[in-house]
């Protein structure tokens, strides 16, 4: 373990803590994983980060980089103890270069604050995780965060031009370039995007930005049969139109919203919320017309459209309240992010309903149908061991189902601890071995966020999972 005094010498006593009451909140994220760190540190510059990492590497002390800690996978839970490196104080927007279409920001910059700044120029950093009011760019990079507009605008990966990374040995590296195109050398930026802090600490990102679309139109359609909704989705995706939003909510979600809020909803098996956006009304309307035609062919119960901001907000109400409503009706929940090819969404939804019945546990599913990324939310009580067991079994089966449909364990939350045990479902032994080799090459002493994504000895991380 690094001597406390050495860390204080780097950042000052006001930027280090080993006080129990401060370490307790750092033992958690938004998942059910928990483990105490030994300390927490708030570096204020990449130089400080480099010094911390050098020391940690010498002393073989685990380091866990952390942004807003909104992860749903246990990604920032210090399962082997060590020091939390909280990057929240490195929140400078270093350069906004509209003419070159990029921004250079420190890892601790909050997504919404970046976008508030960019909006002044009519630009946007498109990835919009639900946690964007607090989520940091560093966290976005670490988890390759996506969000509601993934189908049209992609995920964080698509916007990272370059990174400043402190490697696990303490050297500072710059990847990528400031250009829109770059094929010079291996694409190391991509290796770090979505690496969940296991390969180094991202301290700065150069991000591509987009012009902000000026107009958007919203439509909501409800369907009495899930199959019709599924058809409407993939027919839209085949139509040549790329909606900026294509969200689906299943019957359990809709019922829960209906019963627990004053939002009036028909009795439906599924609801789709969609948006088209663009730079003229004509463009936005023409796209929406195509989508509405497809919806109408698929036997909807009703369709509502909205152009004005106020009406649009109304149509968004049900979708926006999904997470909160479900969070309120149960003591505990896990929120997964399995993703399948778009045409397999109905199979995934029906499969999840079957699993829900089999284990007698409520699973509400909603999510980003346009890119196949769904969020099954399993409701249970963490203080009832029998319910915990059923939840775990149901979750395991959902992962198996997603993989069997050519899908993935995680579309945007990351593997962290929660899904580490399922990595081999998705990745063959050759790929797993190469991942481990990459990890070992970059981080020979396994100090960077150890115990995650089944990259080190799995047995060890499991034994420690519930010990505090």
């Amino acid at each position: 373990m690094i001597p406390k005094q050495s860390l204080i010498e780097i950042v000052g006593s006001e930027n280090f803590t080993d006080q129990l009451e401060e370490l307790v909140p750092y033992s958690y994220d938004a998942s059910m994983n928990v483990h105490r760190p030994d300390g927490a540190i708030w570096p204020e510059s990449p130089e400080q980060v480099a010094k911390i990492v050098q020391l940690a590497n010498e002393e073989k002390t685990p380091l866990i980089p952390r942004g807003a800690g909104t992860s749903l996978s246990g990604g920032v839970v210090p399962i082997q103890g060590g020091i939390i490196v909280d990057l929240s104080k490195m929140n400078r927007m270093i350069e906004i270069s509209i003419e070159n279409r990029y921004v250079r920001v420190q890892a601790g910059v909050v997504c919404d604050l970046l976008n508030r700044e960019l909006a002044k120029y009519g630009f946007v950093f498109p990835p919009d995780p639900a946690s964007s009011s607090v989520a940091t760019i560093g966290g976005n990079v670490a988890t390759n965060a996506g969000g509601i507009k993934g189908a049209k605008y992609g995920t964080t990966r698509d916007y990272v031009l370059g990174l400043q990374v402190v490697l696990p040995t303490g050297e500072v590296m710059h990847t990528g370039s400031y250009t829109m195109k770059c094929v010079s050398g291996y694409d190391l930026s991509r290796l770090f995007v979505g690496s969940e802090g296991t390969l180094g600490i991202v301290t700065e990102a150069t991000l591509k930005i987009n012009p902000l679309p000026r107009y958007a139109m919203t439509a909501v359609a409800t369907f009495s049969r899930l199959e019709d909704a599924g058809n409407a989705i993939f027919q839209t995706m085949m139509s040549g139109i790329l909606p900026s939003v294509m969200e689906i909510m299943d019957q359990v979600t809709l019922r829960s919203i209906k019963e627990n809020t004053d939002i009036d909803l028909p009795d439906a098996e599924a609801m789709i919320l969609t948006e088209t956006d663009g730079f003229t009304w004509e463009e936005v309307e023409a796209q929406m017309e195509v989508i509405l035609k497809i919806f109408k062919k698929n036997h909807p119960i009703e369709i509502k459209t909205a152009k004005g901001e106020k009406d649009r907000v109304n149509l968004w109400k049900a979708r926006k309240s999904a997470y909160a409503t479900l969070a309120r009706v149960s003591n505990s929940f896990v929120l997964d992010d399995v993703t399948v090819p778009v045409s397999r969404i109905p199979e995934l939804l029906i499969g999840i309903q079957g699993i829900s019945k089999k284990y007698d546990i409520v699973i509400a599913t909603f999510g980003h149908a346009g890119d196949g990324n769904l969020h099954p939310q399993i409701l249970y009580d963490e203080y009832d061991p029998e319910q915990v067991e059923r939840m775990e079994k149901a979750e395991a089966e959902i992962f198996h189902l997603a993989i069997s449909l050519n899908g993935t364990l995680s579309g945007e939350h990351g593997i962290g601890l929660s899904k580490a045990n399922y990595m081999s479902l998705e990745h063959d032994p050759v790929e797993m071995a190469l991942m481990k080799k990459i990890k070992k090459t970059l981080d020979p002493n396994n100090i960077m966020n150890p115990g995650k994504r089944a990259l080190d000895d799995r047995k060890e991380s499991n034994e420690r999972a519930n010990s505090i």
């Binding site: 803590t17 006080q19 129990l20 009451e21 401060e22 307790v24 909140p25 750092y26 033992s27 958690y28 994220d29 938004a30 708030w42 807003a68 800690g69 909104t70 909280d86 929240s88 104080k89 909050v110 919404d112 946690s131 009011s133 607090v134 997470y323 909160a324 969070a327 309120r328 003591n331 505990s332 929940f333 009580d381 963490e382 203080y383 505090i468």
Partner: protein, 370 residues
């Protein structure tokens, strides 16, 4: 460890209800300043969870952590899981006191009991206006009375100009704040206030302080008040004022008036009458950021409290470019005035104080609007 905190069913449910999403990071004024997770609502809900599960001992240090909350309620309104963390914090403060971990407000309570105000001041400015009998009692509160005397003077003058039939009373601290910091309201003080108020035969009680307003309205110690209660903005909203300013004016919603009492429209109705160039800050109404003064935070952490006010003031200046910042809370006013840097040209007033000033300027400059 000196004993256990009891967790009843309601509390257990609230603790389980926190999904630890961390959305409170965006709105917590103390977290915004410190970036330390223990300072925001999620941090404290996690502390409570571990206290409940017996994983964390109830120590002085943990008790101290619960003092770091302004009870501004911004997290409550933005909590997707429907938790009311500031209520949990207030309850925890009481628990720690019960376990024998007194905080600095114990001395404040003694001061209050002895002097009848939070500062231990022996006498207040004599503004006159003690008619004894009037249809309205005006209750000023400690912060206005002893720390913002000039502001109070202008407010009183405005009421005179508007020919309001009011009287001041020999008021003592409403003492409601003690409930927020681990202790109990002082019944003797409440009874004295009730006696003084009733003596006047008034039909209406008006408070300038939104916190006093809340205490009179909600605390059982004042339930037998038996007269109509209004915050001064509710009372003045239907008046017409013969003054106006062309300057750019903005408004800061005090947490106690806005989120806690739901009074958002009345202050704005008044401001629109006197300031055609009224501009809202970006974070306003329900989303207004706290000035850092509330929930005993200024008393416990004066330096951090002023830095929070500085942040909020900076935010308001950046977002609005206003010449005048209005609010209607002596605590917000006091904290902002302490926080303002000399180079910041923005002027800060309570609404009533500002209108009072406009009337005076009108009189001294030959009826020209300011």
């Amino acid at each position: 460890m000196r004993g256990q905190i009891q967790f009843d069913e309601k509390r257990q449910k609230a603790i389980a209800q926190c999904s630890r999403c961390g959305f409170c990071r965006a709105v917590c004024p103390i977290f915004d300043l410190t970036k330390r997770p223990v300072t925001n609502a999620r941090g404290k809900m996690i502390l409570l969870k571990e206290l409940m599960e017996g994983k964390l001992p109830a120590t002085e240090a943990v008790a101290q952590a619960f003092l770091r909350c302004t009870t501004c309620m911004n997290c409550t309104l933005n909590c997707p899981s429907g938790v009311d963390p500031q209520e949990m914090v207030k309850q925890a403060r009481k628990d720690f006191v019960r376990l024998g971990m007194d905080n600095l407000f114990r001395t404040m309570a003694e001061t209050m009991a002895k002097y009848g105000n939070i500062y231990g001041e022996e006498r207040r400015v004599d503004w006159g206006h003690k008619k004894g009998n009037a249809s309205i009692v005006l209750f000023l509160g400690c912060v206005g009375t002893y720390r913002e005397e000039e502001s109070v003077k202008e407010t009183l003058q405005l009421l005179d100009i508007l020919k309001v039939d009011y009287t001041l009373i020999e008021e003592v601290c409403c003492s409601g704040v003690l409930e927020d910091v681990g202790y109990k309201i002082i019944e003797d003080l409440a009874e004295k206030n009730i006696r003084e108020i009733k003596k006047t035969g008034a039909k209406t009680l008006i408070t300038t302080c939104p916190y006093c307003y809340r205490v009179f309205k909600d605390h059982p110690a004042y339930q037998n008040l038996g007269l109509e209660l209004k915050h001064i903005t509710q009372f003045l909203k239907d008046f017409n004022f013969e003054v106006q300013t062309q300057k750019k004016v903005t408004y800061h919603d005090p947490c106690d008036l806005g989120r806690h009492a739901g009074i958002y429209e009345e202050p704005r109705e008044i401001i629109r009458k006197i300031a055609p160039n009224f501009i809202e800050p970006l974070r306003t109404r329900e989303n207004s950021m706290c000035c850092g003064a509330g929930g005993g935070f200024r008393g416990s952490f004066p330096k951090e409290s002023v830095r929070i006010a500085r942040n909020r003031l900076g935010q308001i200046i950046e977002e609005t470019g206003a010449d005048i910042l209005l609010t209607e809370c002596p605590s917000c006013l006091h904290n902002f005035r302490n926080a303002r840097r000399q180079k910041q040209r923005i002027e800060i007033y309570n609404i009533t104080e500002f209108i009072g000033k406009l009337y005076q300027e009108k009189d001294s400059f030959g009826k020209e609007p300011a």
